[in-house]
């Protein structure tokens, strides 16, 4: 089975593009640093966000029930979905009952996770993603490669060619303003003719029964306001207890995500507009299983800002698609193996455990420790290479016996220098494909120390 290393290789081999991808995301990380450093209380905000989320998760059922009763009182119809399929059925049911055949969507990683678009398209619903980046990858029939910047893997020339092909822009045109204008015209038409609008949810406030959507393009607001039906889909971890809690999260979200002090639109949807309908679909899809696990439940605190992707030296150099899961990067590598441990067994190992993700995370998810914990679980479940486990237990056996360790080291330092280069650096030595082995000293530290002490 191919894993992350095999999928990362072609990305790395295109060095100019890999460097460009690395630099683009590092630029976002630097923007984040500038915004975060402007707030003297940044670390206190992270602590507060961590505490609020952890508290919420410890009483999640209560807050979900409170949210539902307040939402219903506001005139919102609340639906519960156990898994992706139920979510898709509910959304399709709402559309089919009302004869809606055109749906506009703003950004929602949850619907990507549930594969809603192909589900609806197979049933005759035209689905248009209205976030520019999402629309670009939708036109290319690709999934997003990043949770906040869905088309970050594409250069403007790629988008110019795509728009020329699909939207009739001039051949060779790659001016961002020109391309954006073309997309606006195209999307406005879709927005005006839609029967329903679907949005994601950044935060659902238990005490008000309303949901909050943060965007930069205004597409969520148009999608929720032009058609008569608004469907908001949320994972059940999106709850915050109080309206006042948003003061913490909204300050952290945009700064961490894109290095903006705040998103252009922070829209509160507290009920249906006059004459319209509003639905909220609350989705579990494996989340309650994660909640039940002490080691991993903190990953549900994630607010999907994408900062851990931007800072991850591996993500920046291997691209979103190398992860083979809807959510890439460190947080995706923690979430994916919950869903299918065998298919995603390489992801917790696609990290040098540098810990930058844990330090950048605005809600202080201990990502690199969770990746490490998942490695052990995957080994225990037999989902990793048995040759590697065998090698590790042989090493352990040697290290438990100082004489064996000493003899092994002595032998290595004598044999390696005698080996011909083509043997030492054959394809069986992945270390040596691009690196020299360290020079072998004739004496170990303990040898030197003996001389030192008799000196």
């Amino acid at each position: 089975m191919t894993g992350h290393p095999e999928r990362a290789l072609p990305f790395v081999l295109d060095q100019p593009r890999a460097h460009w991808h690395d630099e683009s995301l590092w630029f976002v990380r630097q923007k984040r640093d500038r915004q975060a450093s402007a707030l003297p209380e940044w670390e206190e905000l992270r602590n507060a966000a961590h505490a609020i989320k952890s508290h919420t998760m410890s009483r999640l059922a209560d807050y979900l029930a409170l949210f539902e009763s307040n939402a219903v009182a506001n005139g919102i119809q609340v639906h519960w979905a156990r898994d992706a399929n139920e979510h898709n059925e509910i959304v399709y049911g709402i559309l089919a009952e009302r004869g809606v055949t055109r749906l506009v969507k703003s950004k929602s990683m949850l619907t990507e996770e549930c594969h809603l678009n192909p589900y609806l398209e197979a049933r005759g619903v035209e689905v248009t993603d209205t976030d520019l980046g999402e629309r670009i990858v939708q036109l290319r029939k690709e999934p997003p490669s990043h949770i906040v910047l869905p088309a970050i893997h594409l250069k403007r020339q790629d988008i110019g060619a795509l728009f020329h092909d699909q939207l009739g822009t001039e051949a060779g045109a790659a001016d961002p303003a020109y391309l954006t204008e073309a997309a606006r015209g195209h999307l406005r038409d879709k927005l005006l003719n839609a029967g329903a609008g679907l949005t994601g949810v950044n935060f659902a406030v238990a005490e008000t029964g309303g949901v909050v959507v943060c965007t930069n393009e205004g597409n969520a607001d148009m999608g929720a306001s032009l058609p008569p039906i608004h469907i908001a889909c949320m994972g059940l971890e999106k709850i915050v207890p109080r309206l006042a809690d948003l003061a913490v999260f909204v300050r952290l979200l945009a700064r961490s995500a894109t290095g903006q002090p705040v998103t252009a639109y922070t829209s509160h949807f507290n009920g249906p507009r006059a004459g319209g309908e509003m639905h909220v679909v609350i989705v579990d899809n494996g989340r309650s299983k994660i909640l039940a696990e002490e080691t991993f439940r903190r990953s549900l605190n994630c607010i999907r800002c994408g900062a851990c992707l931007n800072t991850c030296p591996v993500y920046r150099r291997s691209g979103g698609y190398s992860y083979g899961y809807t959510i890439p990067g460190p947080i995706g590598s923690v979430l994916a193996p919950h869903r299918d441990p065998a298919a995603h067994a390489s992801l917790p190992f696609a990290s040098s455990l540098c810990g930058s993700c844990s330090d950048v995370c605005p809600v202080k998810v201990d990502l690199h420790h969770q990746l490490l914990a998942f490695r052990e679980r995957l080994v225990k479940e037999g989902k990793t290479s048995s040759a590697k486990s065998l090698a590790m237990s042989v090493m352990s056996t040697v290290f438990q016996r100082p004489w064996m360790y000493g003899a092994g080291g002595w032998l290595m330092r004598r044999v390696v220098p005698l080996m011909p280069r083509f043997v030492l650096y054959g394809p069986w030595n992945p270390w040596g494909l691009q690196r020299e082995l360290p020079p072998m000293p004739s004496e170990s530290f303990r040898d030197l120390l003996e001389k030192e002490e008799t000196r």
Partner: protein
């Protein structure tokens, strides 16, 4: 009670004996009571980071047996010190002596600064030097403030090296990005690992460094492997070797 049990990581013992000796001489030079227990081998980090907890556990237990009797344990490696301090709990929590071991195991620089209270390093190291901030020392031992965090900046390694006569510490564009070693990651993900390493080297080169200094030979072994393959004039050096000739007070 002997004051210091010197912990020389397995790969330093076998491959970088000079770094071990420099560490020994620094501690002895300060008049400290140091002992090197010969039954030590490996802390178990390679196994633990590969997810092989069952292979790591007996090595953690051995480590406690060998080092439990010392007042302090000192090692020229941030990563191995972090293994003891931050990752042994799962196997050793509640065992007699573990709480003491856990809170008294130190990387060399932090030991010099925090425990011995070294404020002066009187010595020479002429040349332009870039400091490689190895991740586990940085983000698990907090030997300096990481670039992600926004609290007050500090840096225990720079504080020592900056005092050497003739040294010019260069400024990197990415002050603490990972070099891509990552233990078995260096082999399992060699393509990404080597790209990370080359990018790190390029940052040091652009900043004009002649030497890449660090407190973890594992990262430096990876960087040096790339440097030597490409025949670059850059050198790597462990802080222990750089401070060995200095008078610390």
């Amino acid at each position: 009670m002997t004051q210091i049990g010197l912990f020389i990581p397995c790969y330093v013992d076998q491959l970088y004996p000079r770094v071990g000796l420099a560490t020994w001489r620094i501690l002895r030079g300060l008049g400290l009571d140091v002992e090197y227990p010969k039954s030590q081998t490996c802390c178990g980090q390679p196994m633990a980071n590969s997810g092989c907890g069952d292979a790591a556990r007996p090595l953690a237990e051995r480590f406690l047996d060998v080092f439990g009797k010392y007042k302090h344990v000192v090692t020229p490696s941030g990563s191995c010190a972090s293994m003891v301090r931050n990752h042994y709990d799962q196997w050793l929590a509640g065992k007699p002596g573990f709480d003491h071991l856990k809170s008294n195991t130190f990387e060399l620089c932090e030991y010099l600064v925090d425990i011995v209270g070294v404020t002066r390093a009187d010595g020479d190291f002429p040349g332009r030097v870039g400091i490689h901030m190895s991740c586990h020392g940085l983000r698990e031992l907090r030997m300096a403030r990481s670039s992600e965090r926004m609290d007050a900046p500090f840096d225990k390694v720079r504080g020592l090296l900056a005092q050497l006569r003739g040294i010019e510490l260069v400024t990197l564009s990415r002050p603490d990005e990972c070099c891509g070693f990552g233990g078995t990651f260096a082999v399992a993900e060699q393509a990404v690992s080597c790209m990370m390493g080359r990018d790190r080297i390029a940052d040091h080169e652009r900043a004009g460094a002649q030497v890449i200094a660090g407190f973890d030979m594992s990262c430096l072994m990876h960087l040096e492997g790339l440097i030597r393959r490409e025949g670059k004039p850059l050198k790597v050096a462990h802080v222990a070797e750089m401070l060995e000739g200095a008078r610390l007070s």
